[in-house]
Amino acid sequence: MEYWNSKAETMPRHELIDWQWRRLQRAMAFARRNSPFWNERIPDGITTPEEYAARVPLLHKSDLLAAEAAAPPYGTWPSLPPELGVRHHQTSGTSGNPPIRTFDTERDWSWCVDTFCTALYANGVRSHHKGLVAFGYGLFAGFWGMHYALERMGCTVVPAGGLDSRTRIRLLVDYRIEVLGLTPSYAMRLIETAADMGIDLAREANVKVILAGAEPRSDFTTRTIEEAFGARVFNAAGTTEFGGVFMFECPSRRNACHILEPSCYDEVLDPVTKQPVGYGEEGVRVTTGLSREGIQLFRHWTEDVVVKRPHSDCGCGRTWDFYDGGILRRVDDMRKIRGVSVTPVMIEDVLRSFDEVREFHSAIRTVRGLDTIHVKVETDCTGAAGEALIARIVEEFKREIGIRPQVELTEAGSLPRSLWKAARLHDERELTAHG
């Protein structure tokens, strides 16, 4: 096993925990001294991790938005003057809220890039490789860090922002790209585009490693991407608020997403009682950043549902605990439909198992007072073949999820495709309750 930073990655667990606590104490002292926001929230005299959990309040998105509104654009939470920033990023604001805006100092950005290097190196990326990052290179932090990480590692990066999917496919093939970064949703789009172009990616391209991150995905989607590209897919995630990668999937064990524990002190809490849950139990990830200086983060209630397991269950030699399956879902992703809990990934898992399904869109609607799943499926099947497909989809939903959906077929190419994260399950119950 090779590591980007062998000392930090394989440090004995008790040393790592001591180191984390020293870093947390330094981070708190710096924040209290420099940020009015954190000075109000972090009490003086915290001497143990237990006290930290008991006395520092959980940070919700609404707290950040309020701080931002008080002193736009970055709010009262920065610990350094924004003039020291060398980059600006912000969240997409798709939830209807204003975006969270952040900046990185030169030192913050160096650290962020290093978190990507850690993940890429672990997954076999080396200096002789060529990489392509298929994202928009815009305001959203997304894969910016991957681009710079590939440069730092000595790879050749082909910039692919602002290009359409066909051009990206051509670049992948013509330049024999070995490393690819994108979201799982966009990977599915590229697979479809390549098929339309008559290109067999597994045979004609040379992709070896794919960082498919930034959104939950089903195992089926991961397998589909791996088979289509003939490459290994690994998961990784970061957030704009945290400022770097906080977990990456280990090549030694499928779904074991190691937490970058020198940079983040993570708690996993019961969503109702807000008390810590044990290894192997589902809870909400609450994170504290230990590395960033410009914008710091303490006890951020991320709404990510995770299951933490001890590092020893992986066996790669890293002493960093891991999230089994990465981010399983967002705490607000789960919908109850007639008493059955349904998540977007469950629906994706069923629909992606049909070769005939090219794309789909699903919604929860109220029909004659009853909540139901409505699925619009894009396919080439028509007539009797289409009817048979509907029947098979309904049967599979009943078997896997326990709900009979309404299925509607639509012609190939009619549903919108995602260039970034897909939103495939829409809750339209309020809109349809009186319809």
Binding site: M1, E2, N5, K7, F30, R107, S110, P262
Partner: protein, 69 residues
Amino acid sequence: MTNANSPLTAEQEQQLLRTYHELQDLAQACGVPAVRAAVKTALAELRTALDGQAVDFEYYPGQAGVFAA
């Protein structure tokens, strides 16, 4: 193959730390914009490298001085 057993030696660690401090001094004293910019970039990268080796040093600005814009 593993690199887990080939950590930075104590001498290399001292060398890294010494370089970091020398560049800090240079960043403070140097008036040439091009040199100063290059030194600050190098400092940011060295800080990340030192941190990855779990070296205790002045991680945040103000702990020991420089880092002003």
